[in-house]
C-alpha cells in the first residue's frame, strides 16, 4: 500500500522500527537545520538589500547635489 505522510504530522514513536526511527529523526533534524538556514538567508539577504537600496539612494543624492548646486549658484549670481 502506498501512502504519504505530511512532514508536519508526528509519527507515533511505537509505530517506528529502529531503521525508520533513525530516518525519521534524521529527517526532522534536517528540517530544523533547513529552517534555521532559511532564517539566516533572510538576515543576510535582508541586510544586503537594505545596504544596496540605501547605497543607490546615497549615490543618487550625491549626484543630485552636484547637479543641482551649480544652478543655485548661477541663480544667486543672476540676482
Amino acid at each position: 500500500m502506498i501512502f504519504s505522510l505530511d512532514s508536519n504530522t508526528p509519527i507515533p514513536t511505537n509505530a517506528l522500527t529502529p531503521t525508520t526511527a533513525l530516518l525519521y529523526y534524521n529527517n526532522l533534524a534536517r528540517q530544523e537545520r533547513s529552517r534555521m538556514l532559511n532564517a539566516l538567508w533572510i538576515v543576510l539577504l535582508g541586510m544586503a538589500i537594505i545596504f544596496a537600496v540605501l547605497g543607490i539612494l546615497l549615490l543618487v543624492m550625491i549626484l543630485l547635489g552636484k547637479l543641482v548646486r551649480p544652478r543655485d549658484k548661477q541663480e544667486k549670481k543672476d540676482k
Binding site: 534555521m36 532564517a39 533572510i42 541586510m47
Partner: protein
Amino acid sequence: MDIAIGEFLGFLNLTWQAVVMLVIGGVLMWLGIAKKVEPVLLVPIGFGCVLANIPLGGAAEVGGFLAVLREAGIKTEIFPLLIFIAIGAMIDFEPFLQRPYTILLGAAAQFGIFGTFFLAYLLGDGWLQVLDFSLQDAASIGIIGSADGPTSIYVATVLQSKYTAAIVVAAYSYMALVPIIQPPIIKAMCSKEERSLKMTSVAGTISQRTKILFPIITVLVVGLVAPKATPLIGCLMFGNLLRECGVVERLSLAAQNELANIVTILLGITVGGMMSGTEFLRPETILVFILGIVAFSLDTVAGVLLGKLMSVLSGRKINPMIGACGISAFPMSSRVVQKLGLEANPYNHLLMHAAGANVAGQIASVVAGGVMLMLVPMFI
C-alpha cells in the same frame, strides 16, 4: 421574567485576565498622564485597553466600535499609512541631505530587526520550539527594532502575526525608553575621547529644488528595488513632498495637524482595543517585550560599530556616537547623543549631525520593513 443577574452585571463576569488588563490599561494611562511618557499614544492605548476588557461591554467584540475600527484601519493597513503621510509632512530631511553618508548608519542600525528576528525564530518554530513563534511572528517581532510604530503595525498586520498588539505596544513603549536603553550601550562602546570628538558643521543650505526632488527620487529608488516598501515609503515621501513643494501649504498643515491628530486618536484607541486579556496575557507576550529590548540594543550596537568604522576611515572627523541615531526613534535618539556629547565635552554640539542619522534611520527602517515583507513569504 427569567434573567440571570450575571448576564448584565459586568463585575460578576470579571476574569483574572480582564482585571490584569484593566490594571495594565491604567498603568499605560498613568505613564502618559503623570509621567508624560509618549502621552499622545499611551493615553489612547491605555483607554482602549480598559474599554476592551470591560466584561459584557462588547466594544472589542464583533460589531463593537473597536472591532470595526480594527477591521477598517488596522487590517486594511490604512491607519499606519495615513500616519506616515503625517510623519513625512512633519520631518525636515535637511540635516540628512546635508550629510547623505548618514544613510549608511541608518542601514547598519537595522541589524537589530534581523538579529532579533533570528533569535525569535530560534526560540520558536525554527529550532527550540519553546515558544509559539512562526516565521511570520518572528519577523513581526524583529520589526520592533525599526523603532517605528507605524512600520511595526504595518508589517505585523501584513504578516498576520498573532502578537500584533504586543508588538505595537512594545514598539511605542520602547521609543519612549530610548533615553534609558541607549546611553549605557553607547558609553560601553565609546571611550570618553570618542564621545568628545567634535564634528565640524556643514556649510551651506540645501536648495529648494533638491528638497522637492528628494521625496520623488527616494520613492523611485526604493520602490523599484524593494517594491514591497512602496506603500510605506510612498506615504512618508508624499507627506514630505506636501511639506517641501511650497504650493500646498494648506494640505501640508492639515497632514501635520488634523490628519496626524485624528489618526493618532483612532490608531491609539484601536491598538488598545486589541489588548484583550485572553489574547494578550500569554508567556509569548513577555518574550515579545524582552526581544523588543534586544532589538533596540542590537540596533544601537550595529549603528555605533559602523560609526566607529566611519570615524576611523574619515580620520576622526565623525563622532561614532551618531551611529546610534541610525535607529529611527526620532528625535529621542538625537537628543541622547547630543546630551552624551555635551557631557563628554561642554562645547561638543552634535544635535544636527545626530538628527541627520536619525531621519536617515527613518528611511532605512521603512526600507527594512519592506524588505522583511519581501523576503519572509519567499521562505514560508
